[in-house]
Structures are given as structure tokens and as C-alpha cells.
Amino acid sequence: MNLSQIVQYGLAGITVGSIYAITAIGFNIIYATTGVINFAQGEFLIVGAMTAISLSRIAPLPVAILGAVLITTVLGGLIEIVFIRPVKHASVLRLIVITIGLSILIREAMLHVWDEKVRSLPYFTGTPVSTVTILGAHISPQILWVLGVSAVIVIALTLFFRFTRTGRAMRACSDDRMAARLCGINDRWMVTLSFMLSAGIGAFAGCVISPVTQTQYDMGAPLAIKGFTVAIVGGLGNSMGAVAAGLFLGLLEALVMSQFATAYKDVVAIVVLLLILIFRPSGLFTRSDVSALRTV
């Protein structure tokens, strides 16, 4: 194997890895505030991309994406208010089961609003055939967009959670909801806000990956499974860890693919997930003593 081929495998790994990473970020926000894994996260991506595709017929691309993000954000908030908030004595498990139900509901609703056909947004720069050459290997410019957008989202989220009042309030809810409430934080709205934020980020992610992965109403679940794996490997609630874990998993899959039959690469993803859950349940990039402090 020569250098350009090795680089090409690396770039292939980064391509899938970046898609995993950007999907995983959305899981972390809801988890960070509520301790719930939102299994409808994949559907938020598809709703966002589908809305953007529809809007892009009447508006320029950036406006269409902005519109789609706003619409999905509102949808995320509504879903929380209608389906999550009224649940009394909500155990985490029960809420997770509700999100699974929601994912099915949203999927079927999408089938009726749009249809079963595969669509995609246009490439942000260039066309489906344009490539960027790095060390004799090639990568689609859209992947650079995916990486760039992931980085911007992660930085923005970190700043938001560390330095803004609302962000800190959301973290406080996650640490100890009762104590947060005693401090005068409206914990209910913080949960709603976390759903809105994660729906909005999901929609943005869906739009950015749409030219590469294409968009079909039932693609949310497979994306969510990989995103979920990555979120666990990176340490739940840790956005920076999610991106690192996404790229790690992508590169690992590329490595497996280069040496064995392609069919084995999903085995690797699952084995990594199992190993992490058994030996390092707090994730590769989160210190275990930090995660032990969490009370949710």
C-alpha cells in the first residue's frame, strides 16, 4: 500500500467519522440536562434536512437551512411540551421509551408529509464531482463543511454551557434538579430548551450531511444508532469527546475495511461499544470521577 492509498483510507475514515460525530453532538445536549437519551434525535436530522430541501425550492440555500433549523427547533420544543412534560413521576427509562415512540411517530409523519423518495440538498461548494486533493488522495469539499460545522457547534456549545447564565442553569438542572429548582431555576423550561437546542443542532447537522448521505424519511434510525455509539464512546454529555470519538470510530472502520471484508466494519463498531460499556462506562474522553458526581 502506498502513501496516497493510506491517506485515502484515512480520508474515507474521516468522511464517515465526521457524519457520526455531528450526529452524536445532538444526543449530548438532552442528556446533559435530563439524563435522557433521545432516540428521536436521528429523526430531528431528517426533519431538518427534508424541510431545508423543500424550502430550498423557494429560497436561497442559506435561508432555507436557517428556516429549517428554526422550524425544527420549534418542533423540538413542542414535542417536549406535549409528550415529555406531562409525564408524571418520570423515570429516565420511561422517558427513553417515550422517545423511541416519538421516533416512530415522527418517521411515519414524515412519510405522509413528504414521501418515500430519496432527496438531497445541493453541495454547499462545488458539485457532486468536485474533490479536494490532499497528498494524492481525494475528499469531497462537503466533508470539510461537515468538519467545520461540527467544530463551530462544539465551540459554541462549550461557550454556552460554561459562560452564559442559561447554559449554567441547564447544567445545574442536570446535576441536581431539586437544588436547581430551589435556586430559582425554572427547570421545566430548561428541559424544553434542551430539546429545542438539540432539535435545532440536529436539523443543522442533517442539512450539512444531506448532500453526502442523501435524505430519506427512514434514515434517522441507522444514523442515530451510530451517533449513539459515538456519544457513548466519547462520554455522554461531552461534545468535544463526541467529535473525537466519531473520527476515531470512522478511522477504525476504515482500517478494518482496508484489511478485512467490508462486512466486518459494523462488528468493530459494536465491539468497541461493548468494550467501552464494560471497561469504561463513562466514555473514553470523560474522567470517571467526574461522571460519578452526576446524580441523574
Binding site: 418515500e116 458539485t127 453526502v212 471484508a261
Partner: protein
Amino acid sequence: MRTRIAAILVVGVVALGLVMSPGCKKSPEGTAPETTAAAAEPIKVGAILAVTGPASFLGAPEAKTLEMLVEQMNQAGGASGHKIELLIKDSGAKPENAISMAKQLIDEEKVLAIIGPSTSGETMAIKNICEEGKTILLSCAAAEAIVNPVANHVFKTPQKDSDAARRIFEVMKDAGITKIGVITSNAGFGIAGGQQLQKLAPDYGVTIAISETYDKQETDLTGVLTKLKGAEVEAVVNWSIVPAQSLVAKNMRQIALDVPLFQSHGFGNIKYVEAGGEAANGTIFPCGRLLVADVLPDGHPQKQVLVKYKSDYESRYNEDASTFGGHAYDALLILAEAIKKAGSVETAQVRDAIESLQGVVGTGGIFNFSAQDHNGLDKEAFEVLTVVDGKFAVYEP
């Protein structure tokens, strides 16, 4: 209080049911002699189609086509005077659904024939059920195993995947391509296609240097294509259904794997070309003639059928006709022709009549059935097509 109301309701419903049921049963018995005198009794035809789910690109146009064609046939007096009553079941492409639906159609509805299922996996799951239930099955799925070995009551309308592979290899032979890479999805269609390619390649002097399988819901194929690039293949054959067919075209260009791309007959929908954008140009694939109906010479035997189906479908549903809808069209057409030929609606006679049908012009080709051939099409049913500037065109080397 509540339970009492519930009890009263239950009693009420049961009582109502008792009153109604004899009345319901009576009416058809009472009117039956009259209707047979006026018009022949209607025939029930079931259809198990993947209208939603991952194979909805097959099932949805098939269901729409059947609804349209049944309406047209019934307006024209039905099949030999028998009105057709169509029962469409949506399997969501799940074999377990197809099984229970087939049992229901056979045991409860007592249909004459079942059209579908849309996918090969589902068809294989109900092949024996239809055979044992002595119900004619006209499958709209591609795999060769459906009619090989032949089961008495099982037929299929799409062209054989072995013939698709033959047409692909013919093009390669003419172009002097000898070393290829094959990638297939892990769904029934991809696996069956991959086996045919492996089997037939030596006949045309082609070596398959590398053969890889990927998950049918894969969202990116650059990794596996990198492997093909490393093997220095002279052409890539991809055998899958959506969404991989558009992805493979894009991903090849993105990693600068500049060799010809061949796809299966599953590529026959302009939507996949649109999804692939510029990257889809130059893709070579065998396909039924529906997609190039407008440019066929006027004397071509299929021209009239194709143009009529295409314009009827497109004006009614306001979307492009695909070859898949055509498979359902052919299935119902064959059934109607067989009823006409048999002059009967008894399963045994209709079945025999299908086996003796010759020269039936359908959308997929010209059908010549026999006791050994329950598909009735040969490789001439395929035209080799390519994509030029985002549109289908007949391939010219």
C-alpha cells in the same frame, strides 16, 4: 356504574351483530343468480406490495399502477366480462408481513391470484405458501430463484438478473474490460446479483479482482471504493437498490476513481440520476425499455404499450413512470390475458393458460411462457442504457 354501561354496550353490540349477520349473508345469496345472469361474477385479485418502507420506490408505483389499470380494465368491461376486485396489502417490505398477508388472502379472501411481493426476499418467503394454497403468484421481484426451480403456481414479470449480468458483460467484452470490482448491498437483490456476476464472469473473459458487500443502509461508500481503487480495477459494478446507487456514483468521483460505473437494472428511475447529480452521468446499466419509450423507433413492438402506460401514469399521478410500476402492469396484463385464453376463472385453468401464453407484449418485454419458463423473458428484454446530461439514453459504445 361504568362497568354496567360497558356491559350494556357489549350486549347491545352482540345483539346488533346477531340481527345484522343473517341479513348480510342473505343478500348475496339472494341476488347471486341475478348477477350471474347480468354479468360474470367479479374476481378477487390480491396484491402484496411494499408501498411504504425501504422498498417503497418499488411498491408505491406498483400499487398506483394496479389501481389505475384495474380502473381502466373495469371500465372496459373487466377481464372477459369479470370485474376485477383488487385488494392491496402494504407489507412494508417485511417478509413476515408478506407471509401473514398471503395466508389471509388465500384462506380468507380466497383470491384467484396474488400480484407481488415487490422484493425478492418477501417473494421467496411466500413461494411455498402460494404453491401449497394453490394460488397463482405473479411476483414483481427480480431474483432468479423465484422461478428457478419452477414452482407450479409461481410466476414473475421482471427480467432475470442473470440476463442483466449478461448484458453488462457483453458491453465490457466490447470495450475490452477484463478486470473489474464488484460491490453489492447485503439485501436479497444485491446478494442474488452478486452471485450471478460471479457465475457468469468467466464466460465473458472477465476477472472479478475484488468483491465486497456493504450494508444496505450505508450512507457513505468511500471506504469500500478506496479498496477497489487499490485493486486497480478497470470498471466498477454496483448491484443494489437505493440509496447506495446514487452514493456510489458520487463517491467514485469524489475519490477520483475514474473508471466506468455499471449498475443493475435497479437503477431505472430518473430520481436516482437526480440524486446523483452530475456524478450519475456516464453510468451504464441494463434496463427495460420504458425509460426510453419516447425515442424507440415507431415500428418497435413495445412502443405502443410503453408510451400509453407512461403517459397514462404520468398524467394521472403527476410523477415519472418507473420500470417497477411496469412489473405490476405486466403481472395484471398476463393474468387478464390468461383468463381470456382459459375462458374460465378456475385457478387450474388460468394457471395452465399462463404457461401457454406466447407473444404477450408488456412493459418489461415480450413474454413467451412455457412449463419450464415461468418468467417468459430473455436477455433481449433489456436495453443497455446510459445517462447523458442527467437524462437516460440508449448506450452506444
